[in-house]
Amino acid sequence: MTEKESKRGMKVIGVTLIIFAILVAPHEGEFWPFSIYPMFSQAGNPWTRAMILDVTDYSEEEIWQQRTNEDFIGDPVAVRQYGVDEIDFSNYVSKTENWTDRRREAIRRMFGLHTFEENRWLVVKANGYLAGEDSVAVDIIPWILLTSEGTELNPNIDNSEYMSGGER
């Protein structure tokens, strides 16, 4: 490469940077493969994740009680065994605002309908936050029950929370 080509190389990088900025600026820092890498930039905020607990052997009354990450009931289901990416699943649950029938059913389909012929699985939200000065608390909130007949919502949670995105 010559001096002249090197100089041209920097100009091309400069133009690319402008395109980069134009693409990521209106898209919250992300326009793959361009990124300003904003992950973990907002530290200390409460978080929400999700997991599935196998509650086949538990009663309705036990299932719908809110618990913590130290005393939850049911065995955690390893979603990857079903070919599902755990981060995808977690984001699906935590970022869905309107739990329409279609969106609820999509979770059952994610794992294959035959899975629920014998099992009852509870989708739970895990909410983590700083509690006081020196500890982290994680609430486990029962969210949706997946059964052979379909899905059930937590009767202890107001229906409006399942449609927080409002009418679209």
Binding site: E5, S6, I36
Partner: protein, 296 residues
């Protein structure tokens, strides 16, 4: 000489003679990128076809087109096949110079279709940036004299920029107290739920237990990682590059141990572009193999 010309000298090294080792390394690197391009195209395509039914989070062009179209009619698999075909032809330099550009556009569509489910992963970004650098290189810097230098130099530039911008994103997003160890506690507990969800059980490792038991340890871990990101741009300088990249690889090992986040392709790529491997090839090879001459 202007400041940007000086950076250009460090990235593209116009005064250094080209050697057989450099061309061989370049083609090995391109093969690495080709492998991951095809791997991702199919993995994303198969997942999209099997699992995606709803768009949870539209990314990139999915903000403007209905990306759920890719969930039907095997479009994601067809896209993977087209990406594979074009990438292989581009690798062999048998097609048009803009083939890599088409590959990156199709790969972007594949990415946003696959990751319309809420996750925004970054472990594949370097492969994407590399394909993009090959696309620009093939169009504006074709030929063995210019393309290898431009492609590798551009990738080094954007990787360095990416780490440093990550530092500033944290500074802007949280402020100077970003390295407060309690933030690491929150992330460890967050990832513990992901681990439960992935494999069904979770046990903190030694480093996590140490960080959870001693706040200063957690703070120091975050501070070291954060400062390492800040100096990411120093990899633009040829002599500093191996040291900066070594620190960054160490940081990724730390991220894996504390937060259970693996960046396999990312780290492999850092290993490839961070060190002057061409010197090693030059020790054993006197002449450039003909097929490499033809395909660079």
């Amino acid at each position: 000489m202007t400041w940007y010309e000086k950076i250009g000298h460090q990235l593209f090294e116009p005064k250094r003679d080209q050697t057989p080792g450099e061309l061989i390394f370049f083609k090995v690197f391109e093969l690495f990128v080709l492998f991951y391009t095809i791997k991702y195209a199919w993995e994303w395509g198969i997942y999209t076809q099997l699992r995606n039914t709803e768009v949870v989070l539209p990314l990139g062009v999915a903000n403007y087109i209905d990306i759920s179209l890719m969930f039907e009619w095997n479009l994601a698999l067809i896209n993977a096949a087209v990406i594979t075909l074009l990438a292989v032809i581009a690798f062999a330099r048998m097609g048009a110079r803009w083939f890599y550009m088409v590959v990156i556009v199709l790969l972007h569509i594949q990415y946003v279709a696959r990751f319309s489910q809420g996750e925004i992963p970054h472990s594949m970004n370097l492969i994407g940036m590399s394909v993009f650098a090959f696309a620009i290189g093939a169009i504006w810097f074709p030929g063995k004299k210019n393309m290898p230098r431009f492609v590798i130099g551009a990738i080094v530039f954007f990787i360095g920029l990416g780490y440093t911008s990550a530092f500033f994103a944290k500074m802007i997003g949280t402020g100077i107290n970003w390295y407060d160890g309690r933030h690491l506690w929150l992330w460890i507990s967050e990832k513990s739920i992901d681990v439960y969800s992935t494999i069904g059980y979770y046990e903190p490792n030694f480093l996590q237990e140490l960080a959870l038991s001693y706040l200063p340890v957690a703070s120091v871990i975050l501070l070291i990682g954060w400062l390492t990101e800040l100096i990411g741009f120093t990899m633009w300088w040829k002599k500093l590059r191996p040291f900066t990249v070594t620190l960054l690889i160490g940081m990724h090992i730390g991220i894996t141990m504390t937060m259970n986040i693996r960046f396999d392709a990312f780290v492999m790529q850092l290993i490839l572009i961070g060190f002057p491997w061409y010197l090693l090839f030059d020790k054993f090879v006197q002449h450039t193999p003909k097929w490499i001459e033809r395909t660079v």
